[in-house]
């Protein structure tokens, strides 16, 4: 099983995506990314929280305190309107990027193996 370190911009995108289904708190976001990537993408707390606060500062997400499924106080994040727009455009860019990269990887005439 490979674990990949995430680039900063990618982490932001994943955070936004994980919030597209509704509000979540930090631990849930980390779990969501980990499980939906089948444990390949591992989000360090060291990167997650500064990123959350950075994104909040950009105005893409909003925070509010509430009770979690474990009946604990936790800070929940939710997408704002501009956050949805950012997710849409970044997802599109990401998609194009991935398609372009995979096109190159599959269609390039292979040189010596």
């Amino acid at each position: 099983m490979t674990r990949l370190d995430l680039l900063q911009g990618t982490l932001d995108l994943l955070i936004l995506r994980s919030l597209s289904g509704g509000k979540r708190h930090g631990y849930q976001i980390a779990r969501a990314i980990k499980s939906s990537s089948k444990d390949v993408l591992h989000v360090e707390e060291g990167a997650l929280y500064p990123a959350l606060h950075r994104i909040e500062a950009k105005g893409w997400i909003e925070a509010s305190w509430g009770l979690s499924e474990n009946n604990r106080r936790a800070k929940f994040y939710a997408l704002t309107t501009s956050g949805r727009e950012a997710l849409e455009s970044q997802a599109k860019t990401w998609d194009e990027y991935v398609r372009a990269v995979s096109r190159v990887m599959t269609q390039m005439p292979g040189d010596a193996s």
């Binding site: 849930q28 929280y49 606060h53 909040e56």
Partner: protein, 877 residues
């Protein structure tokens, strides 16, 4: 939001801690959820919580980063808050290293203090405009002898200029005479300025109170008995009482009505003259009696060259008409140079440049300290950059640190300047014009503020550049390279170079000062007391004086301890002088060109002895000399050689330059006096007996032996009062003070520049020592290895010192080059030494090299004291 009673600082603090608390709560929630999950997997609660915490990692760091990421959210976090935050951080950083902070502050306060002090000085002395309206239009007019010696102007010539020269809008003459002011208690000997009524017009000034003199009070030969007080006299002696206008002063028995107060800064031109009265220039007086100082205001649109040409033409014409001053010409001088003086101005700029050099050296030292510290903080910087602190933010942090140091240093420096300015003023008071007006005032403080700004940038720049030259990762590769090293080496060698500049300047001024003070003034100032005696015509006619003064001197000779007493009309280094013309009778002089301008003085028998001057040929005056029959004179050696070469001058006859052509017989010859300007060739001089020319204002010189001078001084006044009741006796002081005053200006420059040079040398020493010590400390592991492999201490020390000195080379050479260039600018200030004086240069270079060796040897040696085994363990250092 916080309540209105909170200060902004409190608001930011609580905002910050609120952010921190919130982030912490969020982290706690994360850890709790993870622990819940672990418990669900069957791990006991305490272990689960511990594992969750461990997994979470460095809470402190994450919190700081998260809070930092939130910054844009904090609306109150204005630029000002950020600076406050940086300042707090900088203060904490500095307090953590008090030795570093103290060194940096002390260094900067020296540099800034020196700069502020000299700026206040140069501003008052050189930069401050003259207190006159359009000072560029004010000129001083003087006469030039056929030999181009500068002379004053006669009253007759002055009235002609006043009438004829159209380039002058207004013109005024001044002559300073001694007078006796009858004041309650006892008579005071004062100077009275006899001035033209247009004096203030020429300068474009207004009387401070009352009025100035009227034309009808200044009629030729009939000056009115009205007076004006100087601003200082009015303040010091009359308590600035306005009712003094209309009161009367009794001077030399005449009653003068006070009509006005002179403006405040007139003393820049007139000196400390307390009382002024109209001159009433008399054209019938001897036209070759030159004693007026003449100033004029150029007509609008006229240049000094045009005026000079016109004045010369006018003078040529009137010389012919009156058959006087034949072969003479005139010269105009801008008043600025007359008041401030070329050497003073040059000296001011030299001192300012030196202060700037010292400031640069201080900056180099502090910059170096900051860089060394930045290097030791590499890890901190690297971590902070890795967690997202931008380079701009770190740069700002470094600038805030250097700025805090600069501000602190600036405050201390200004305090230093406050104490230094009065000291410097006292040092220069004797001869530096306008120095008493120097003050640490708002413009000077503004200059200090600019200095602090520059220091911030200059000191902060190097560490910031060091930061820029580095990626995020490289500092973690420990010890591989030290990009700041090269910059630090450059800084230190620049410092050493600048030391050469300061030391060379000081060395040259020192040599020149020694040369000047070792000039034999021609008399022995030690063991003398001198005081002025004023016997104005109104109270004593010349016949009475001719008897009275010798009587007084005889009486003083009877005081215990007194060995000789004499009197002269010109006190040594008083700046004054009497001039006339003389010719040798052998040459049958019949034209003005046959006459030579000379200085002359009328002296009493015993004068030469009292001055400690030996009679080289012939004899001294005797009491009966000058009472009839032949007219004996004693001449200086220069005049004897000019007239008769090596031949014996005794018994020769001289022709005096008066209309009658009096015949004078040389009865003695003395060595020459250099008591006008120490550094110049002594003028040709003739001494005539006092009995024949009983001058009104004389300086008595008393030579004593052994006794306490204050006891002798105390005996003088009562003895004079016994013989001549009511005769005012001036201040009694040793002639040594006069000599000391004569070298006041060079001493002033030397003491200040010398202080800078010594400070500079210390700074260079500290800088060099610090750099080498730091280098050596970084190399301790390597040195340890070499020692354990058997290298001996000596060769390692040698290696370190040699490498260090080698890297000094460029700085040293650049410094010598700058100093060499700068020293040629000093030429006007030097006496008896060339700017490229080999002795000075070799001593300076040797001193700098020796200092550098000591500063590198000491830390290198102390590194050798480290045990090799311990040295190897500090690898992690």
């Amino acid at each position: 939001m916080t309540g209105p009673h909170h200060s902004p600082l409190d608001a930011t603090r609580s905002a910050k801690s609120r952010d921190e608390r919130e982030v912490q709560a969020e982290f706690d929630a994360h850890v709790a959820h993870r622990a819940d999950e672990l418990v669900a997997q069957g791990i006991a609660r305490p272990e689960a919580e511990q594992q969750a915490k461990r997994e979470f990692g460095d809470v402190e760091r994450l919190r700081a980063e998260s809070v930092e990421a939130r910054r844009p959210l904090r609306k109150r976090a204005s630029a000002w808050d950020l600076i406050l935050q940086d300042l707090r951080f900088a203060a904490r950083q500095l307090l953590r290293r008090p030795a570093f902070a103290a060194t940096a502050l002390l260094t900067l306060s020296l540099g800034i203090g020196a700069t502020v002090t000299i700026v206040s000085l140069v501003r008052a002395v050189v930069l401050e405009p003259l207190p006159f309206v359009e000072p560029d239009r004010v000129v001083v007019a003087g006469m030039l002898t056929p030999e181009r010696s500068r002379f004053s102007v006669s009253e007759g010539v002055f009235t002609d200029w006043e009438r004829e020269v159209e380039s002058f809008e207004s013109i005024a003459g001044v002559v300073y005479r001694g007078g006796t002011l009858q004041s309650p208690g006892q008579p005071r000997s004062i100077a009275v300025g006899r001035v033209s009524h247009r004096l203030l017009d020429v300068l474009g000034m207004q009387p401070a109170l009352g009025r100035t003199f009227r034309a009808e009070e200044d009629r030729p030969g009939q000056p009115a008995f009205v007076a004006m007080l100087s601003w200082n006299a009015w303040h010091n002696d009359f308590g600035a009482d306005p009712t003094v206008i209309g009161s009367e002063l009794e001077i030399d028995g005449d009653r003068f009505e006070v009509v006005g107060i002179m403006p405040e800064h007139l003393d820049q031109w007139t000196g400390d003259t307390p009382v002024f009265a109209p001159m009433g220039p008399d054209p019938t007086l001897d036209r070759e009696d030159h004693y007026l100082d003449v100033i004029a205001r150029l007509a609008p649109g006229t240049t000094i060259e045009v005026a000079d040409t016109e004045l010369k033409a006018v003078q040529d014409r009137i010389s012919v008409i009156h058959n006087a001053d034949i072969g003479w010409t005139t010269q105009l001088y801008p008043i600025r140079g007359e008041i401030i003086g070329e050497t003073v101005e040059r000296g001011g700029w030299v001192l300012l440049a030196s202060a700037a050099v010292l400031l640069l050296m201080a900056c180099a030292n502090v910059s170096n300290l900051l860089m060394v510290r930045a290097t030791t903080r590499e890890a901190e910087m690297a971590v902070r950059m890795a967690i997202g602190a931008s380079r701009g933010r770190l740069s700002r942090q470094l600038f805030v640190e250097s700025g805090s140091l600069a501000i602190g240093g600036g405050l201390l420096g200004v305090l230093l300047a406050y104490t230094a300015v009065p000291v410097v003023q006292a040092l220069g008071a004797a001869r530096i014009p306008r120095v008493t007006e120097a003050a640490v005032d708002p413009p000077t403080l503004a200059a200090g503020l600019i200095t602090v700004g520059l220091v911030t940038v200059v000191c902060g720049l190097a560490p910031v550049l060091q930061l820029r030259g580095r990626g995020t990762a490289s500092p973690l590769r420990r010890g591989a390279s030290d990009p700041g090293r090269r910059a630090r080496t450059v800084l230190v060698s620049a410092q050493v170079g600048l030391t050469v500049v300061l030391l060379a300047g000081t060395g040259l001024l020192f040599r020149s000062f020694v040369a000047l003070t070792s000039v034999d003034p021609g008399f022995e100032p030690e063991g003398t007391l001198a005081f002025s005696v004023n016997m104005p015509d109104e109270s004593w006619d010349w016949r009475q004086r001719a008897v009275l003064l010798p009587e007084i001197l005889d009486a003083l000779e009877g005081l215990p301890g007194v060995t000789a007493v004499g009197a002269t009309p010109v006190a040594p280094f008083s700046g004054g002088g009497l001039a006339n013309f003389i010719a040798s009778e052998d040459r049958m002089p019949d034209r003005q060109a046959d006459f030579t301008p000379i200085h002359w003085r009328t002296v009493t028998p015993g004068f030469f002895e009292s001055m400690g001057m030996a009679i080289r040929a012939g004899r001294d005056f005797r009491a009966e000399d000058g009472t009839g029959g032949e007219r004996p004179v004693i001449i200086g050696r220069n005049l004897a050689e000019e007239m008769w070469g090596e031949a014996d001058p005794i018994g020769r006859t001289l022709v005096w330059g008066d209309p009658d052509g009096s015949r004078l017989t040389v009865i003695g010859m003395v060595d020459d006096l250099r008591d006008v300007r120490l550094g110049e060739i002594p003028p040709m001089i003739v001494y005539r007996p006092y009995r024949e020319l009983a001058w009104a204002t004389m300086t008595a010189v008393v030579r004593y032996q052994g006794e306490d001078p204050s006891a002798i001084a105390a005996g003088i006044r009562p003895r004079v009062a016994e013989i001549a009741p009511g005769l005012p006796v001036g201040e009694i002081a040793s002639l040594e003070q006069n000599v000391s005053r004569a070298v006041a200006e060079p001493r002033f420059n030397l003491v200040i520049l010398g202080g800078f040079a010594v400070t500079g040398l210390l700074l260079a020493l500290v800088g060099l020592y610090g750099l080498t010590a730091f280098d050596v400390r970084r190399r301790v592991p390597e040195i340890g290895i070499r020692l354990s492999l058997g290298a001996d201490h000596g060769s390692i020390i040698q290696g370190i010192v040699r490498r260090r000195i080698w890297t000094m080379g460029p700085g040293l050479i650049a410094g010598i080059a700058i100093a060499w260039f700068a020293s040629s600018r000093l030429e006007a200030l030097l006496y008896g030494v060339e700017p490229n004086d080999p002795l000075t240069w070799s001593v300076v270079i040797a001193l700098v090299v020796a200092t550098s060796l000591v500063a590198t040897y000491l830390p290198a040696r102390s590194a050798m004291l480290v045990e090799p085994s311990r040295a190897l363990q500090t690898e992690d250092g």
